[in-house]
Amino acid sequence: MERIPILKLGEFLLVSIQVDMHDQLAISLQDDLTAKIVATSAKGVLIDISALDIVDSFIGRMLGNIAGMSRILDAETVVVGMQPSVAITLVELGLSLPGIRTAFNIDRGMDLLRDSVAERQENQRVLNEPD
């Protein structure tokens, strides 16, 4: 069966969607990513959508589900590379992608993930410090 590959890079998972996904493929990606976050204890997920020339409400919902589920599993999600025409269309469609962090490209997305992981570790350290 057709699958979108998920790559592990250190404590992060990387996904680059390069095909025009039918709905079941989007659902599989959501399920696969959730399982992989658990299996690898990943701290972050980066999803590159620069090759997608549309994001409709179904794919938008999938991205939101991934962000929501990864948050529950203690991982951050960043969506990178959205084409400007896709962004314009999404807003008009009525999708504002609440709860999804976005970045311009993969480099900035990785920076964002690293920063948020460092910040969380710092918060943990302060919380665990004896008075």
Binding site: D20, M21, H22, D23, Q24, D53, I54, V55, D56, S57, F58, G60, R61, Q83, S85, V86, I88, T89, E92, L93, G94, L95
Partner: protein, 135 residues
């Protein structure tokens, strides 16, 4: 006013939605729509094709180029023989859904189109026609 012979495509599976998107993209490029307008009509087509499949139990779409006075564009008609929509006004509201979606399909497709018309009769199916003009 002139229009080409419409192309008709079936919508009976999820893969067909992808085929419809690609055919609408090709038609939009052919009609000279810019990238943003192409993206809007392809996204609207994706929503309406999914509606025809999920709510209408499948159907078809016809895609045609329109040349009307000084205007050029593409027109899409989505037709299904499903249960129809009882309350169209309600169905056009954002967030209203009888399925598992976000309820943005119909209202969103309307916003992404220049012209939008809908006909539906309970028990007799639904037809949604949208047009996007070259800007």
């Amino acid at each position: 006013m002139s229009s080409t012979n419409p192309t008709s495509l079936p919508i009976t599976s999820q893969e067909d939605i992808v085929v419809v998107r690609q055919a609408v993209r090709k038609a939009a490029v052919g009609a000279g729509l810019n990238l943003v307008d192409q993206t809007k009509i392809v996204t609207a087509a994706s929503e309406l094709a999914r509606n025809a499949l999920v709510h209408g139990g499948g159907g078809n779409v016809s895609i045609e180029h329109i040349n009307e006075w000084e205007r050029r564009g593409i027109r899409l008609s989505f037709i299904d023989q499903g249960p129809g929509i009882r309350d169209i006004e309600q169905a056009l509201k954002d967030g209203y859904s009888t399925g598992t979606g976000l309820g943005l399909g119909l209202g969103g497709a309307k916003r992404l189109s220049n012209d939008f018309s809908i006909w539906s009769e309970p028990g007799n199916g639904t037809r949604v026609t949208i047009t996007r003009w070259k800007s």
